[in-house]
Symmetry: C2
């Protein structure tokens, strides 16, 4: 049976859920597609757990890794994905899944492509590097619809936004404009504001429900949405950088560097301004949203 | 350069636009994908125009075919796709595009699959045949995500509904429910009704704008929506037939067999009932729609 090895890089909420889905569904994939999907390595921030042989990490160990990570009792692994990758590739087709956040995994992604692996990103940061960074060229060279780097999950969550855009462009359509509320976090916050909740309370509620980053300013700054806009624009062939994008931040300058608690406490200073904008929108028959 | 031959079956609004898109975009496809896309045959109801050699029908003749068809001055072609298909297939990879309406093209679709061609349908009827029809099995056997029959355009127009559903199912998700307003015709009609237009007038307006079939009863009967529901359900692996689906027809029994003009004139008899439903919906803060 044909075998495909996965290397899971970034092992938080997304990475853990992905491992569980692989464990749960690979009997189906064996039966339906004749493909044996194994997990050759799982890498967190501290280090990686590497499988002993080509059969991959066994289900019981994968479940234990996920459980320990969730309960915070994981003893850190010490393997190195960078060192293990060439051997894993030699054993057969390999896909690196980068579900981390931030630029710390870019070198692994680039190495994987260079070695001939496929790379799948939910992590937006590698595709938002400055164009002048040579790693940016290495990654974007594989992003066409026939390339080895897939990044559907970076924009629009589970909706097929990237593949649809690529298909439109491949077949000859021209894009006039892309517009949308590309952030589930802002979506939740402004839905609440629209039904009368104070902005600061809506942010606290969204954080309590797990919709925001640990520091909600990472969402409210608009950086996450700007990265999505950048990825869509580059997918359309534009050579632009993050600082070419005008971002409307909802984090006041004087609250940019205080603690998270102080930020959340003092965010109510913004409530009147946001409420005024929401009221003006409602008076015009519209809803206040954070739009790209 | 790799060559792919297209056989265009069904040569109305959709088929004509498709031919124009191929003529316009194939220089792009040659350059970007190294694929030379030619049109080997164009078949309308009267007969087919077949290319003289593997280079396909030339652009000027294709444009003339489309123009003549639109102006209604086309002298009917007399070629037979069924007879030409084996020869076209021998020359290389071939895709049959069925943009007709109705079951008249089913035999061509089945023949094409049997000969090894790809088949792409916007025509819903072939996939809505009774399961007991052996041609139904022949078609559905090629509808998996790795099969040779593609039917994205049968549901949801340009939205990637079918491929998304297949991808969800392939990777192990289970579908609880699919719901939507799967008809652009009903969408236009009930948007108008929602803003106070009489139902009968909304139907006439939709017809005047080209949103309905020539006989609007083909839309209002719900058959078109039922076919889409059937295709989605069968894609999920259910073995059901059209008559297993409960359809709410907006065509009163006593107007089912009168002329189109009489139907449109007497449709206003339905206005009070539809208006009452729309008012009840609005009173509950809802909108009246035709939902699957």
């Amino acid at each position: 049976m044909k075998r495909v090895s996965l290397v899971q890089v970034g092992f938080g909420t997304v990475g853990g859920a992905l491992i569980e889905q692989v464990v749960e569904n690979r009997p189906l994939w064996r039966e339906r597609f004749g493909i044996d999907v194994t997990i050759a390595a799982v890498a967190g921030r501290a280090g990686a757990t590497i499988a002993g042989d080509a059969r991959g990490i066994i289900d019981a160990e994968l479940r234990q890794l996920v459980d320990r990570r969730r309960s915070g009792t994981g003893d850190p692994a010490h393997g190195s994905v960078a060192e293990a990758l060439p051997g894993i590739l030699q054993a057969g087709p390999t896909i690196v899944l980068d579900a981390a956040a931030g630029e710390g995994t870019v070198d692994i992604d680039v190495q994987a492509l260079r070695l001939g692996a496929g790379v799948v990103l939910s992590n937006k940061a590698p595709l938002a590097l400055p164009m002048s960074d040579p790693r940016s060229s290495a990654l974007w060279a594989e992003t066409s619809s026939t390339g080895r780097l897939k990044f559907e999950a970076t924009c629009g969550a589970g909706l097929p936004v990237i593949s649809t855009l690529q298909s439109l462009l491949d077949t000859g359509d021209r894009v006039r404009e892309i517009s949308g509320t590309l952030s589930g976090t802002f979506g939740a916050i402004f839905s609440a504001v629209g039904s009368g909740v104070h902005f600061s309370q809506a942010v606290k509620d969204a954080k309590a429900q797990g919709y925001t980053e640990p520091d909600p300013r990472d969402d409210l700054s608009g950086l996450d949405v700007a990265r999505k806009g950048l990825i869509l624009s580059r997918t359309m062939g534009n050579s632009i950088d993050l600082n070419d994008i005008e971002v409307h931040s909802l984090v006041p300058d004087h609250l940019a560097d205080v603690s998270i608690d102080e930020f959340l406490n003092r965010l109510s200073e913004q409530d009147p301004d946001i409420a005024r904008q929401a009221d003006e929108s409602a008076a015009a028959g519209l809803s206040l949203k954070y739009v790209m």
